[in-house]
Symmetry: C2
Subunit: 205 residues, 2 copies
């Protein structure tokens, strides 16, 4: 029986563009047991951005060094700039008992599944195709063909949701309920026998 603070859990969150991830995660982060994973990047700091809050800003040399030393959970290159999830930040937060939210697309999530066995995987799904199409349309002035293309990509992502541990549906006007679902899922994940065993192993000796 340990009175030490329980380690937090890495919470990998995916969901298609337009599903409302930002709003849902904002509500989750109001819970003090949750923090958002801060990424490292080689791109220029923009006005108003803060180091170690928005991103860890670093040079390409430093980023390359971290890649070589295997210090990222995952990383990728977009438009000539590197972005990655540094292990040190996640590890620091987990050891403080915080659940760390890592928002990442489906392909990245698959990689993490084998790298971090203790992570819990949550997929945010839209309520309906028509609702998702509406939200994608409302986002910009795009032509209908662009919307149709984005919808096709989203539907493809959604079909990957069955490999996640939990699926939360973000229903219209229910983002806060959806956030509560995510919090319950993480809480319940910690109650699975394999995760409780160390607390009650006394009874198995």
């Amino acid at each position: 029986m340990s009175d030490l603070k329980k380690r937090g859990r890495l919470v990998v969150v995916s969901g298609p563009s337009g599903v409302g991830k930002g709003t849902v995660l904002k509500y989750v982060l109001e819970n003090e047991d949750f923090v958002y994973s801060v990424s490292a990047t080689t791109r220029e700091k923009r006005k108003g951005e803060e180091n170690a809050v928005d991103y860890f800003f670093m040079s390409k040399e430093d980023f390359s060094g971290m890649i070589e030393r295997d210090e990222f959970i995952e990383y990728a290159c977009y438009n000539g700039n590197f972005y990655g999830t540094p292990k040190f930040f996640v590890e620091d937060m987990l050891s403080q008992g915080k659940n760390v939210i890592l928002e990442i697309e489906v392909k990245g999530a698959v990689q993490i599944k084998s790298l971090v066995p203790g992570a819990v995987f949550v997929f945010i799904a839209p309520q309906s195709k028509s609702g998702l199409a509406e939200r994608l349309r409302a986002r910009g002035t795009e032509e209908e063909s662009v919307v149709a293309n984005r919808l096709a990509i989203a539907e493809n992502e959604i079909r990957s949701c069955l490999m996640y541990d939990y699926i939360v549906v973000n229903r219209d006007g229910m983002a806060q309920e959806c956030a509560k679902d995510i919090i319950a899922a993480v809480k319940a994940h910690n109650l699975k026998p394999e995760n409780v065993y160390s607390d009650i192993c006394e009874f198995f000796n």
Copy 2:
């Protein structure tokens, strides 16, 4: 996408004698989404007991008829009286969207696992051997050999907990937290892909 009220879930709860199931479940039942399964019995109604609240009181003939018509989820005989969980009550509550708590020992739970595939299984475990022994001692004026015997039975039951879906530890003075864990477990169980699929099947067509 269905707007019909979601069916409730059968919540099978076990835990050793002395773990404090009564107090924990009292807190769970303060949540209006949960009801306690009312059993049927052939024993005499005691003063203060109410039919359909404490038990469904019935004759041995009626009870036998229900057994023959396969109208119990499970039943057993103790001290010459029959006790059973009538399907009609559970089904009625589930269809009203209520989660039905069925408190039952480990052996009965095993039977239900194959009978009701949708049920969720929760085990209430004590914090420590010494704590459990203390609670068993506090219960009565029993001799130490009786306590030791009960503790051995309890420990045996606890070793079955790994086959439950979720294990909640009832820590000293934390019964309310333990109840919250049970509620989160049931909520999260409904978020598992196999239980969400029907809500998002539109995306798989």
